[in-house]
Symmetry: C2
Subunit: 312 residues, 2 copies
């Protein structure tokens, strides 16, 4: 069985034909040019799908899955996709004008989580939550092998769980959201704070003396080298991440937590620190500690997970 | 179809025969006498089941569901039930010695949530979370009409999500757990704090001048009468409850939140306050606000929900 996966981003449309093991057999891509009319963007998506299908002559395709940076309802209408300016656009219906195949639509973070659950870090798990540690914090929930979007489409918005009541103001309008404490942005904010208090920090040296040039990688690299201010910033990040994982465990209790996004490139340095802190915050300490792993699929998770939306 | 529901508590065993609409057709009960051997307690549970069956001659029974104050695995072994001192007790197997019927075991909080979802406040909802506001804070999650226990049995332990990092120490060993901020215990603690600062509070009058006699009901009654210190205690409770509901919405996004437990007897006074505060903390404000309702089934939820474990 071959499934088509479409990773629809604000910049690129990436399409792949994916087999059941999550291997991408053929790919095509186009620019999104997001300011264009909805129907034109879908036409180019369909064009990429056609090219991918043509690259695999004689093969049958079971369905088309689309990962969008937004929210869709069960009928396949995109309710809200700010990056593309789409509100209530009938994406599945429009796609059906080109292909007589089932069309499945999911949120991009949920789709990445689905890919990791089917063929990546959480392969073999019945339930998993992926936490994407990037500029913000995204999340995707997979339960019984299916993405869980929630009743209103807010499911998996882990970055906007409140972690610190009356805490740091968030772009969403609330205060103290998870993504204000364990995103790349948070790592940079706390790293810069440390540099103001400790100007001899290695972070500042790595940034050529300019605190504005401190990136998440600067903080992590300096922490790896044992710089105390950088380690405090990193440990703050890890502490809040461990609390967030505890909150997911005490509510959903997934089989595995998968860490993705830019900060996850810190690799074992991050993973070991998180794993070491988790047991302290788990209730029912006699029960197994939830497994935590790094995401494995990288950018291809978008295509693979979109395809997996159609896996039955 | 008739199902048997057993509400196994530390004090009482309550058994009922329940029809598909959640009506209890016959009941029996016995003392738990929790210090007895496991097999004796199960023998008395089976005796109650027999009496209930005998009260409905000629009827067929489809299964036996048991709600326990602890955690069981999928094979029907009770892993951990502190109140009864049960650890790794084969409850389903022991029950099968008396009845040739399927046996289903669930956590009591999840079972109550299941009852509310099938025939109570959340009837007709595909997903709901029940928050039990008592001495502690319990929780039960129902997804697609089935209880969600999580991969390790920690699912639904909403009371031990961290709400305030480094906050009030909790009985579980962590700090700042939800149940330290929105339980009856929290209402009492904050009420007493207010009374120390404002000794002319109506709460203190109602408690005969003795702060140790302030109960959750004292705080709520005084708040209803407009006493400012009591209102501050009540509003603190409602604020933290709204944050907790936001955290459940941003992760699980259930169709409905059901409020149960002693504090929920504050009724519309509580419900109106929570509903008024929720919109402020929801992300994606264009999406519908999650519904919040009061639990409807009271003590019978234990029997009804246990029976519903067997509903297929």
């Amino acid at each position: 069985m071959i499934l088509i996966g479409i990773d629809l981003g604000g910049t690129n449309i990436a399409v792949g034909a994916v087999d059941e093991e999550g291997r991408i057999l053929a790919q095509a891509s186009a620019k999104t040019l997001a300011q264009r009319p909805f129907t034109e963007i879908v036409r180019d998506m369909a064009g990429c799908v056609r090219r991918v299908m043509d690259a695999l002559p004689g093969r049958e395709f079971a369905g088309i899955g689309i990962g969008i940076p937004g929210i869709a309802d069960e009928s396949g209408t995109v309710l809200n996709c700010t990056n593309l300016g789409w509100f209530n656009e009938p994406l599945a219906d429009e796609m059906h004008k080109y292909f007589d195949l089932p069309v499945y639509i999911g949120n991009d973070a949920n789709v990445a989580a689905l890919a990791e659950c089917h063929v990546g870090a959480a392969k073999g798990c019945r339930s998993s939550v992926m936490i994407t540690l990037g500029t913000g914090v995204g999340g995707g929930i997979v339960l019984d092998g299916r993405p869980w979007n929630g009743a209103h489409g807010r499911g998996g918005e882990i970055g906007h769980m409140t972690l610190v009541p009356d805490g740091v103001p968030c772009t969403c309008g609330n205060n103290g959201c998870v993504e204000r404490y364990c995103s790349a942005t948070a790592l940079i904010r706390i790293g810069r704070q440390e540099c103001r208090a400790f100007p001899d920090s290695l972070m500042l040296k790595k940034a050529g003396g300019d605190p504005e040039k401190i990136s998440a990688k600067t903080v992590i690299d300096a922490a790896k080298e044992g710089d105390a201010p950088a380690l405090r910033a990193f440990n703050s990040f890890v502490y809040y991440l461990a609390l967030t994982i505890n909150n997911l465990t005490a509510s959903l209790d997934p089989e595995m937590i998968v860490l993705g996004g830019g900060v996850s490139h810190a690799g074992a340095f991050l993973l070991d620190a998180v794993r070491a802190l988790l047991p302290r915050y788990q209730i029912f300490k006699a029960l197994p500690i939830p497994k935590v792993e790094l995401a494995q699929l990288g950018n291809e998770a978008g295509i693979i997970g979109a395809a997996m939306l159609g896996k039955r």
